[in-house]
């Protein structure tokens, strides 16, 4: 399979006066349609790595390629467009827009791309609501939903533009274990159904074991890379 993401010699240093290096010469590539887990202790640099892949952060050194295009030299406008078209984000704190309803939140990435909502897109949003079990609360404001519902909304939102890549930073970090299980099953289904590449950070060993590949980061270096 072709690699959709490639990282070459990534270094990341924070701070101007007091420099803290969090990533050391990372070389990684991810294959299209794979489901990958990144594990590691807090402060190991795994979130930084994910943010660099997601073009939210820039490496201090090294090159990042998404679908063959180098991203670390793009300007903010190009990056915004790239993120909008090819990536979906799911964060631990879900980050819905509290001023908008569940369905409006889900449609937001599409609106950023194209303000007009066609019948097809509307149906796709309804399908995602169905898939994530949110049909009943689709007109609720984000603040009027449970944590699990909000996280599922964030997942549906990440999918609306049919991105090739979904990046998830502890998507179930603040959910109970039953809900976590349901959410991971959902992500896995999506991965199979739409051939979406997943990179997810998790603390949960049981969940990590269900993925195709586990990458462990320790002190800014890859300490384990297990493909199953």
């Amino acid at each position: 399979m072709a690699s959709i993401i490639r990282l070459e010699h990534i270094d990341k240093v924070y701070g101007e006066k007091i420099k803290t290096q969090v990533l050391f010469d990372i070389n990684l590539s991810f294959e299209e349609g794979s489901f990958n887990a990144i594990i590691g202790q807090s402060g190991s640099g795994k979130s930084t790595l994910l943010n660099i892949v997601g073009t939210l952060d820039k490496p201090t050194d090294g090159e990042v390629y998404i679908k063959g295009k180098r991203t670390d030299i793009m300007n903010s406008e190009q990056l915004a467009e790239l993120r909008n078209r090819t990536m979906g984000f799911i964060f631990q704190f879900h980050y819905l827009l509290p001023e908008f309803t569940a369905k409006e939140n889900i449609l937001m990435p599409h609106r950023i791309k194209n303000f007009k909502i066609t019948k097809e897109v509307d149906e796709w949003a309804d399908e995602l609501l169905e898939l994530t079990g949110l049909t009943k609360v689709k007109n609720n404001l984000a603040t009027d939903m449970s944590g699990g519902q909000q996280q599922r909304t964030a997942i549906a939102r990440a999918l609306i533009n049919r991105p090739a890549i979904i990046l998830a930073d502890e998507p179930t970090g603040n959910l109970d274990s039953d809900t976590s299980e349901i959410i991971y099953t959902l992500l896995r289904d999506i991965n199979k159904k739409y051939n979406t590449t997943f990179i997810t950070i998790t603390h949960d060993q049981r969940i990590a074991e269900k993925t195709d590949r586990i990458i462990e980061i320790k002190d800014g270096r890859i300490s384990l890379d297990a493909i199953r």
Partner: protein
């Protein structure tokens, strides 16, 4: 663009308290500005009107020893070339005299007019409160104060001493009140012929009096008229030269009124700016996630420009209505004993439109800083800090 507008509206709607406060702030600013502006304009127009509204604004006076304009018909013809800038022209034959009445004498001014023209300037017809204006020879009208002082009523005969020592007798046919004590107290008004006879002016007149369309242009216009007049026995005077202190008072008042208005607007601008700056910080989480999802920096900043625009428009509309409310209350409660407002309010649509536009522009300017913060916000800051 449309997404930015939609998000802006949603942000404003979800922060209702804040939105209402800003709109209130803008409205009060606009209202005060409108009120002060209209009040001062009204005051000035009123002041100008009472000062020179019923008097000659440009006057042609003789410079010869006899103090007579002989060829006045020609002078009028030449002055009429300046129509419509000069809109009223009237001649007057004037001279001093002394009124003898039972217990005393009083200095008076005999003023002879052609009433068809003179009424347009002095409005004797409107000011007449008893009897009628003189029509026949040796008939006169007397002002209110003089009539009271000397106990004159219509039908009375009065005795006037002229400067040349003659004594003339006039029949009083009317009493007038022009609202100006100095005129009411001294002018004995008659027709042109009578005055010419009594004062020995022959066919000449003493002054040619004019009113103009734009009173503030009177000085320039009077120069042009002076240049055009063929007689070298006359000069042209205008009200501005004679009222220099009034004019400097008015312009001082305009400057201070403008200053107040500008500072009110600056205060409004700072108010909007600070509230919007707070709101951009409050929404930084939302902006971060929007940017992670791929909203462009320009659109992220447009959200706040639209917020400023919407707040400005609503604030301007509400403020203008507030301002009208204030003006209405002022005309209702700040009144003279007879019920007329102390200062007649002057409604100037151009000025109102301008102050509304100022509010909108201020709100837009106020949104520049929040818009820049929004544009520069890096999503990673928000994502990292939870």
């Amino acid at each position: 663009m449309r997404l930015s507008l939609q998000i802006a509206l949603r942000f404003l709607k979800s922060g209702k308290g804040q939105t209402v406060l800003i709109i209130l702030g803008i409205s009060i600013g606009v209202a005060v500005q409108l009120f002060i502006g209209s009040l001062i304009q009204g005051l000035q127009i009123n002041l100008i009107d009472t000062t020179i509204g019923s008097s000659s604004q440009i006057t042609i006076v003789p410079t010869n020893d006899e103090k007579i304009i002989k060829d006045w018909e020609r002078a009028i013809y030449e002055a009429e070339l300046f129509k419509p800038e000069v809109n009223k022209i009237s001649v007057a034959a004037s001279g001093p005299g002394t009124l003898d009445y039972e217990i005393d004498t009083a200095p008076i001014l005999i003023r002879g007019f052609n009433f068809d023209e003179a009424n347009k300037i002095y409005k004797f017809d409107e000011g007449l409160y008893k009897g009628e204006l003189p029509v026949r020879k040796d008939e006169v009208s007397v002002g209110k104060e003089l009539a009271i002082k000397a106990g004159i009523d219509i039908g009375d005969k009065i005795l006037i001493q002229t400067p040349k020592g003659g004594l003339v007798r006039f029949l009083v046919t009317g009493l007038y009140d022009l609202g100006v004590a100095s005129i009411n107290d001294s002018w004995i008004v008659t027709d042109l012929k009578t005055a010419q006879n009594v004062l020995g002016l022959g066919n000449g007149v003493s002054t040619i009096e004019m009113q103009v369309e734009d009173v503030f242009n009177a000085d320039l216009l009077s120069e042009k008229i002076a240049y055009t007049l063929s007689s070298n026995e006359v000069k042209v005077e205008n009200w501005k030269d004679q009222n220099a202190s009034l004019l400097s008072g008015l312009s001082g008042q305009s400057v201070s009124s403008n200053m107040i208005q500008i500072f009110v607007l600056v205060a409004v601008l700072l108010g909007i700016s600070s509230v919007l700056a707070i709101s951009v910080v409050q929404r930084s989480r939302q902006l971060g996630i929007l940017k992670a999802m791929g909203i462009k920096d320009r659109e992220a900043s447009l959200i706040f420009v639209f917020q400023g625009l919407i707040l400005g428009i609503i604030g301007a509309i509400v403020g203008v209505s507030f301002g009208f409310g204030l003006l209405y209350l002022f005309t209702k409660f700040a009144v003279r004993p007879d019920g007329t407002p102390v200062v007649p309010i002057y409604i100037n649509p151009g000025f109102i439109a301008l102050s509304g536009m100022f509010a909108i522009v201020s709100a837009m300017i106020a949104s520049v800083i929040p818009a820049r913060i929004s544009s520069k916000l890096n999503p990673i800051e928000v994502i990292k800090n939870g």
